[in-house]
Point group: C2
Chain length 246, copies 2
DNA sequence: TCCCTATCTTTACATCGTAAAGATCGAATA
DNA sequence: TATTCGATCTTTACGATGTAAAGATAGGGA
């Protein structure tokens, strides 16, 4: 009996920031008395805001250990709770990833909106959004991966659905402004759809290839010191020399 | 003792095609005599070509159960061997996925080359490659996922490196032909790099968004019955109405 | 005061990847 | 021909993970 799952912690001590009471239970088995009574503001009994704490813990784990390290149990360890605690708040791993992706989409949307606001010239305005797009992905590759590369997302969750929808709406709106036409919410012409798909595919594809390191071959063949941002800009502004946009 | 891992099979009977001798060992424990001596062409002792058989089994599992179902043990079950057999041939899961991705890249390259050959007019030629690109991904979404969305690939493996390199070379070559200029193997101008990045990003991004179902919103707002292929074509040929290719 | 409910912990189990040791067979060697 | 050797495959084992189910623990009304 009790052959598996008796160690629980014994690691995760790397880069510990501030939170997480840290119960120091590395003895061996059976810790019946969690704490006598609620005093001294330590080990917050029922915690009060575990859900938020878990999401923040998940973000830390993601940034520290990457996508592969983002497990339910790792998040629980980071938050200092039992490994089954996240399940109660998110149902399963898909639930946690979906809520985390929603957080990511909100950050993502805010970053792009902010970048658009600070632009002045028309060209700057047009480039601000894709630049912010790629910049966010480079700054938060794990989060971008959760948002765009995970098959384990549940878009029926309202928070995720809304946040992702807002992202798409921002894109469609930007395209509409650039084409100087109103893009309605329900029907699209083929050319409008093509324009949206082109912009999104272009920036999303660039980002994915960049994060996957597949643009390295190109970047290192370009003039010395050409950055990814410069390549992005060139890709978006260089003259098209054939009938197709290539 | 013998608490874990004594069941081995008992499933995976869905959609069994033809291969795999099927040893019918669903009794319980200890099957010492695998078979008396090599006779009757059944249960091929050392199998002879397990490596190839495992790769084919992996492809079947991938198509049947998707990326999530593609595990070392599932592949071993599909091939009718012990769960540790794949390790001997591929080292670890990364090894298997990398070799499988190499198979995919070869199929992928062949599909595009074939499509380009059968094109006649210049416009057809220009569109043949991206269309074949997307068509392959739609026909083999699991394989495309392995090739382009997996972080667990080892590009230091020669077979994978070569197959992926060939894919990139084909793209660069096609862009060069379209721009009517020679694209050298080592150095690139910024505009050349931008053109390659644009073409690749455009098609790769479109494919990823399509496979992830993120283009559904657009497709269902387009005129009745517009297919993804039609949208792709429009995206590649519709006139650009602003300074940027959007 | 007592019970009810949400919250969190324990315990348990199937599955997975991987390591290590044992079995098996083809082939080279004597 | 008999024996040894090395490659191939199987067994066994272990830690980790997701998830289900039952037990503990308060906080908040009745």
């Amino acid at each position: 009996m009790a052959k598996t799952d008796t160690k629980t912690d014994t690691k995760g001590e790397t880069a510990r920031t501030s939170r997480a009471p840290r119960r120091t239970t590395s003895t061996v088995a059976s810790r019946p008395a969690r704490r006598a009574t609620g005093a001294k503001t330590e080990t917050p009994y029922h915690h009060g805001a575990l859900r938020e704490a878990l999401l923040q813990a998940a973000e830390r784990v993601l940034e520290r250990d990457g996508l592969a390290g983002l497990t339910l149990r790792a998040v629980a360890r980071e938050a200092g709770v039992s490994h089954a605690a996240p399940t109660h708040h998110f149902g399963d791993l898909t639930g946690l990833l979906s809520e985390l992706a929603a957080v990511g989409f909100r950050q993502f949307n805010a970053a792009m909106a902010s970048a658009c606001d600070t632009a002045t010239t028309p060209l700057e305005r047009a480039l601000a959004r894709p630049k912010a797009y790629v910049a966010y992905a480079q700054a938060h590759p794990g989060m971008y991966g959760i948002m765009f590369r995970t098959e384990r997302l549940d878009y029926s969750r309202p928070s995720l659905h809304e946040a992702a929808e807002a992202s798409f709406a921002g894109l469609a709106n930007a395209i509409g402004m650039m084409r100087q036409e109103q893009i309605s919410g329900d029907a699209l012409t083929l050319n409008q759809g093509a324009a949206i798909a082109r912009a999104w595919s272009l920036v999303h594809g660039f980002t994915m290839l960049l994060l996957d390191g597949r643009l390295e071959d190109i970047l290192e063949r370009l003039p010395e010191g050409t950055t990814a941002e410069r390549l992005l800009e060139a890709m978006l502004t260089a003259p098209v020399t054939s009938k197709l946009p290539v």
